[in-house]
């Protein structure tokens, strides 16, 4: 169980691969040294055989036969291990070779040939046959004994070196992968907890010294962000529920009272009419929420085109001028003579500006002024709405952008509390930023939409 898990870790697999590669390299090295040794020995034995043959060829036939015969009984066979003198028909004259080696040619070149002795296993010899001036053939042989011994030594040395090295690498790999495995196991446990609903749990990330810890750190930061978003959603959900419950409970109370006391048709009719108004408010909140969600989730820029901000301002002011007039507010525009154009969705931008102007008029008392300006700050176009109204406290400026936020000063003013969220969503879609500042002379509010 533990072993199969170990085998599945990436670290252990890497170790196995490294061990295999090391073993491979060792085999290759062994092979290289081996062939090199063989080549050297082959070269040396050829030279020795040929030198000896040349030396013997200079002797008289009688002397040669004597030497060969004597050699055969000699035990000094280190350089030349076998020798034989044959006549032209390959019949043995003298020497310790029993018969003419099978397949040997008298061409003065070395041949590797298997020799079958009277007893024991056959053994290879490097043989050289040279025809003497008197027609006899001298055969000299050198065994591979030395080479075989050297090879054996080499093999032993290699294996002796390889086994501990490979074992050590394998052990190291197992230890390392076991450590990695235990860390991954901790992470798995943390993830299981998170999946089970404990969103506050985090992966063990340590000091982020290696890739695994850095990955855990990234995952943790992602979880932080998700937790924030979830908190935000939960908050918004509560706010929605609260904002809907208020008008809905009013509707319920009104209808209930009308039912219990309302005898006349007129009373009932009135109650129903007011209930419908309250329900419209609820529907308004839901519609606004859906609209914001729709704009926020929208990545579409299909409705985008060139929008002249001055024309946009003129359109919105045209719509709001009568209402400003009725409420005793001066609605002014300040537009630069150079056309300021941006890439945007005209319908959404109208909605954005209308919401700002609507807000400004709502929160500006009789006799105040609302100004809509289009300026170009360097190369960035800006849309600015200022009012001389009640203003927004510095510490509240961030909060007013969130959904359903109503400052204490604005509780009495009707509205869904979603207007600025909508403004923010539309601005985001246009990659524009919304900032809230104090109005001119520190009075009222200034909304600045900065397009990139």
């Amino acid at each position: 169980m533990w072993l199969t898990e170990l085998c599945r870790t990436a670290a252990f697999r890497l170790t196995l691969m490294a061990v295999a590669a090391m073993a491979g390299v060792m085999v290759m090295q062994f092979g290289l040294v081996y062939t090199q040794m063989e080549a050297v020995e082959s070269h040396r034995s050829t030279a020795l055989l040929r030198g000896e043959a040349e030396l013997l060829a200079q002797m008289t036939p009688e002397h040669l036969e004597y030497v060969v015969r004597k050699r055969a009984t000699d035990d000094m066979r280190l350089v030349i291990s076998s020798a034989g003198l044959f006549d032209a028909s390959h019949a043995l004259i003298a020497g310790d070779l029993r018969a003419w080696p099978h397949g040997l040619k008298a061409d003065g070149k070395p041949h590797n040939i298997e020799i079958y002795p009277e007893e024991g296993a056959p053994y290879p010899l490097r043989l050289l046959a040279e025809t003497m001036p008197d027609g006899t053939i001298l055969v000299l042989g050198r065994s591979f004994h030395l080479l075989a011994e050297q090879k054996l030594m080499l093999r032993h040395a290699t294996v002796l070196a390889a086994i501990p090295t490979l074992l050590f690498a394998l052990l190291l790999g197992m230890v390392l992968s076991h450590r990695a495995l235990s860390r991954v196991k901790d992470m798995h446990e943390a993830i299981d907890l998170i999946m089970a609903g404990d969103i506050h749990e985090r992966l063990p990330a340590g000091k982020e010294r290696d890739d695994l810890e850095r990955l855990a750190g990234s995952v943790n930061r992602m979880l932080d962000r998700l937790e924030n978003l979830m908190d935000g959603m939960r908050e918004v959900g509560n706010d929605i529920a609260h904002d809907l419950r208020t008008p809905l409970s009013r509707v319920r109370a009104k209808l209930e009272r009308a039912m219990s006391t309302g005898s006349t048709g007129e009373v009932l009719e009135n109650a129903v009419a007011r209930a419908v108004d309250d329900l419209d408010q609820c529907l308004g909140i839901i519609t606004a929420l859906l609209r914001i969600a729709e704009i926020e989730s929208s990545r579409r820029r299909a409705g985008f085109g060139v929008v002249n901000l001055a024309e946009l301002v003129a359109d919105v002011v045209d719509l709001y001028e009568p209402i400003a007039e009725t409420e005793g507010i001066a609605l002014l525009t300040r537009v630069s003579s150079v056309p300021v154009c941006i890439d945007g969705d005209r319908h959404l931008l109208v909605e954005l500006l209308a919401n700002l102007v609507d807000n400004a008029i709502k929160f500006t008392p009789d006799g105040g002024t609302v100004t809509v300006s289009v300026i170009r700050q360097g190369t960035t176009p800006e849309l600015i709405v200022t009012d001389t109204g009640i203003g927004i406290a510095v510490d509240e400026r961030q909060a007013v952008m969130s959904r359903f936020y109503r400052s204490d000063k604005s509780r009495h003013v009707p509205g869904s509390g979603l207007g600025l969220s909508l403004v923010l969503a539309i601005a985001h879609l246009h990659e524009a930023t919304v900032t809230i500042e104090a109005g001119p002379n520190g009075q009222g509010t200034l909304f600045r939409i900065t397009f990139s």
């Binding site: 009419a273 419908v276 529907l283 519609t287 859906l290 609209r291 729709e294 929208s298 579409r300 299909a302 409705g303 359109d315 045209d318 719509l319 709001y320 009568p322 209402i323 009725t326 969705d345 319908h347 959404l348 109208v350 909605e351 209308a354 919401n355 609507d358 709502k362 509205g415 207007g419």
Partner: protein, 247 residues
């Protein structure tokens, strides 16, 4: 020919049931039975003849059979979807005006709805008065003649010189007031809701506050109806406005 016969058949049936003279016939294709019931009640209550079908396929068959003056089609239907119904009808050359109903408010959906051949688009939830006003508007296509003058009751409008008179008295209007009055004069005696005015006169698809249109109408009304004159621009409670000329 066939279309005409069907038309008459429907009128006969409905006349027998309601005992009223139908002003037009509506084919409603809507799968939600509660909403469908409400719509049928509202429309028949206002003298319209309504045929209801609950699926796209049966609705398309009924529309192809002909007879309806206006189609009210829900976008999302079981089986054949609302937009496909409209597309099929338009491909067959049937030009009956269509009001698309949808629970989707996305601007994109509105555009695709109108592109598929819908003439107007209404997002759920809606007030029944809004639906009625829009169906009526589709039944009575506006007077979009190319004439340079509009004459409605005591009002006379010169579209080229941008001037308006009431019984010979010239009314001085701002450009936006002129546009609003022109829209009303092209649709006399027809209930126009606030969102219809915002959508058609200002091309806005949202209502930031309810009294926005009322203030515009109020300003226009003060100029059109002088003290002592019979008021021409009427408010319809909870619904919208109407330019009354016929007696």
């Amino acid at each position: 020919m066939t279309e005409h016969t069907h038309h008459d058949d429907q009128h006969d049936q409905s006349d027998k049931q309601s005992g009223r003279i139908a002003r037009g016939s509506v084919l409603l294709i809507e799968d939600d039975s509660t909403i469908a019931e409400e719509i049928v009640a509202e429309l028949t209550g206002h003298g319209l003849d309504v045929l209801h079908r609950a699926t796209g396929d049966s609705g398309l068959a009924a529309a192809l059979a002909g007879g309806a003056d206006v189609l009210v089609v829900d976008r999302l239907l079981p089986g054949l979807d609302g937009l496909s119904v409209i597309e099929t009808l338009r491909q067959r050359g049937i030009r009956t005006p269509v009001l698309v109903l949808s629970a989707l408010s996305a601007v994109d959906d509105r555009v695709t709805g109108l592109k598929a051949g819908g003439d107007d688009y209404l997002t759920k939830p809606f007030a029944m008065e809004e639906l009625l006003a829009r169906v009526e508007a589709l039944l009575r296509r506006p007077d979009d003649t190319r004439s340079t003058k509009l004459c409605v009751g005591p009002l006379e409008m010169d579209l080229i010189e941008r001037r308006v008179w009431r019984d010979g008295r010239e009314i001085d209007l701002l450009p936006r007031e002129f546009r609003l009055l022109e829209y009303l004069m092209r649709r006399p005696d027809q209930v126009l809701t606030r969102s219809m005015l915002l959508e058609d006169v200002w091309q806005y698809r949202f209502i930031p506050r309810t009294n926005l249109v009322d203030v515009h109408i109020g300003k226009l009304r003060r100029k059109v109806d002088s003290p002592g004159e019979e008021p021409l621009i009427k408010s319809i409670r909870g619904t919208g406005f109407l330019l009354r000329v016929a007696d």
